[in-house]
Subunit: 407 residues, 2 copies
């Protein structure tokens, strides 16, 4: 018998039929003898409806009151799921964030969890009840309702699993696990049985949006195993665990990619301290997020080239800002390209294997794919290539590293 925290997202609870189906899954897990805490999101579409209502009155709306409104989405779902469970004969009790007492700071719309009171939940579990908790929400020290921002329900689930020392945190989504790459591009992509937290972080931030980064960070910090599963199909899903609990480590776990990137290069920048800061400063102070940043050594001893990537939607705005700044800095020229993609190899195994990069570049070269930029981290190698090579590049790498075969 284990204590399991399950989390069902908006699509999984998108109608009362689906909520009834979730109730069946919860009851099945309970029949196996497990204690269950279930975290749910708002029904799909509901949060957008509430956002639209609030924004029709003020944009941005008052942050405190915005959270009061948003929190109702999950509150409806917890009630509905408990009604379904009780109707099927399973004792259940719902909790809002405030009722559990999920204590957060008071940063409305993007609050952080400080502490969880597990007393009421433990009492209910001991009474044989399934406990259903509203995701995405909490309460500050003064009793104001707060929300955790995007992906907040995942965070609630992982934080609850941590507080309750749960054996596993199961995240139910509309995919049946984490794959070696997007199966729409590589039909032979393989579902991974296990993945380390570090790899999941790189996969998530690179576009495999199965899990929210914050919840993976949280789970990693407290060593809570996460399992990603489909709410629509049965199957073991993908278990995400600390690196040291994976016995046989594959070199490469997967290939992530990001097709929403654009690059901007400032050519002939005077090579003096503070230049990078001045160029990126104008960009980030306009709330444009920067992804890769590359600067090579000064090529003639006095000037250098500076390149970074931004989201494609921010490309034009960033270009204008940088062009203005470049004039001021007396840089030679600014060039940009929004027809690029980033492809990344991810795997903790590459840490101890220098040959991976060579093998990657060779595979791309064999198909005549020109690499425009390279960036690496401990467990990741990313390259930027022309967008027309996205599918080809991913497929070539998937083949080269034999990712369709289990490690």
């Amino acid at each position: 018998m284990a204590l399991i925290v399950q989390k069902y997202g908006g699509t999984s609870v998108g109608s009362t039929e689906r909520i009834s189906h979730v109730a069946d899954k919860v009851i099945a897990a309970r029949r196996e003898g497990h204690d269950l805490v279930v975290v749910v999101s708002a029904m799909s579409g509901e949060t957008n409806r509430l956002v639209a209502l609030a924004k029709s009155l003020a944009d941005p709306p008052n942050p405190r009151e915005f959270d009061v409104i948003l929190a109702t989405g999950e509150q409806v779902t917890i009630g509905l799921l408990c009604i379904a469970l009780e109707q099927k004969g399973c004792p259940a009790r719902s909790y809002t964030g405030a009722q559990v007492r999920i204590l957060t700071d008071n940063a409305y719309n993007k609050a952080r969890i400080l502490e969880i009171d597990d007393q009421a939940i433990r009492h209910d579990l001991a009474q044989g009840r399934v406990v259903v908790v509203a995701g995405f929400q909490g309460v500050d020290a003064e009793g104001n309702i707060t929300t955790l921002g995007r992906g907040g329900s995942d965070t609630t689930a992982v934080a609850l699993a941590t507080a309750l020392k749960a054996d596993e945190c199961q995240i139910y989504t509309d995919v049946d696990g984490v794959y070696t790459t997007d199966p729409r591009i590589v039909p032979r992509a393989r579902r991974l049985d296990r993945l380390s937290f570090e790899e999941m972080l790189e996969m998530a931030s690179l576009g495999s949006k199965v899990l929210q980064i914050r919840s993976v960070e949280f789970a990693s910090k407290y060593n809570v195993p996460i399992r990603v599963l489909s709410s629509f199909e049965d199957g073991p899903g993908t278990l995400i665990v600390p690196e040291d609990s994976i016995m046989e480590q594959a070199l490469i776990s997967g290939i992530a990619f990001n097709k929403d990137e654009a690059k901007i290069t400032v050519l002939g920048v005077p090579d003096r301290p503070g230049i990078a800061h001045q160029i990126l400063g104008v960009v980030s102070s306009s709330n444009i997020e920067v992804d890769m940043i590359i600067q090579n050594i000064a090529h003639d001893g006095s000037s250098t080239d500076f390149t970074f990537t931004v989201h494609r939607n921010d490309f034009k705005r960033a270009m204008a800002l940088v062009q203005e700044k470049a004039q001021e800095l007396e840089a030679r020229q600014v060039v940009g390209d929004d027809r690029i993609v980033k492809i990344s190899l991810v795997g903790v195994g590459m840490r101890s294997h220098a040959g991976i990069a060579t093998q990657m570049f060779q595979a791309l070269a064999s198909e005549g794919i020109n690499i425009q930029m390279i960036s690496t981290s401990e467990i990741k190698i990313s390259v930027v290539v022309d967008e027309k090579y996205l599918e080809l590049g991913v497929r070539v790498l998937h083949d080269a590293f034999r990712l369709e075969e289990a490690a």
Copy 2:
């Protein structure tokens, strides 16, 4: 400067445009120097939507969880109104029932308010904020969300006005006050400036559904003046106050009527103790509400006739139950009629004026309207007549007692 509690019903907050209009009204009252606590209902249609969601899973739904869901309707409105107020430059803060701490018993779906903590609200008022409270909801001693049942937002408003010792409790609806009778039947019906609690209770229970009975009872008990106003038109509305604060008392304040009644008579019932109980017992234990009950003295010393009225929707069911019971009791016959209406004269002045009944019966007789049943209370005389006489009866009485003229 006064402390005013305002309550806006579902129609008044039925869209964000209307919520914005309510914000304007609140700000106007505040400019006059008043401290304001505003109670709001769910946006019209919203409660029905939530009820349908819950009932699609179980009917009846688990009562605790049903309240968790229903309470979100008002929670959305408080957030929206505060967003509108803040956007217009008026400091405001919203409170759910749990946040105020409107303590109730734990009778889910029909909880009663036990106690209101006024500390947080007083603190906000002192800070110059408008306080917006979710109607219809509270929290029990264990922190479970409860709702107060139909018309609960009126009750919340009156209870808050009592707890805060407010100068006035203003109930905004879609009518501009309480009328001498329904203006759709008597176009010259007059808006009453003042009305006593007792009269309002009789008017409300007899079908003038402006205010919920419970909130009038509450206001009466604690002597909180209530003002009924339109949220769409300006005007003084109708002030409902203790009887002793009305200087010049009219004999008759208004004419109420109920066209949804049906009557059932058991003829030749053996005249022995417990008979009334046995007949009404089968009806009320089937959750059928009984309105008028009339039994005259035994006409031949051994048997009597027993008549009562029920809602027209319950007529057939009640007839079947009573027919079965009548056989068992060896009553002679059961007859029923669902084409009747009840017309009532209401006024505290009639208490000291015996001639009212005579005048009423005479007025009806002058138009050939036959009276089938009569029932009286301290401040009310009700008659049952054939439904075809409803409009004529009301008009004749309105004229006879000169209700179009101010007292």
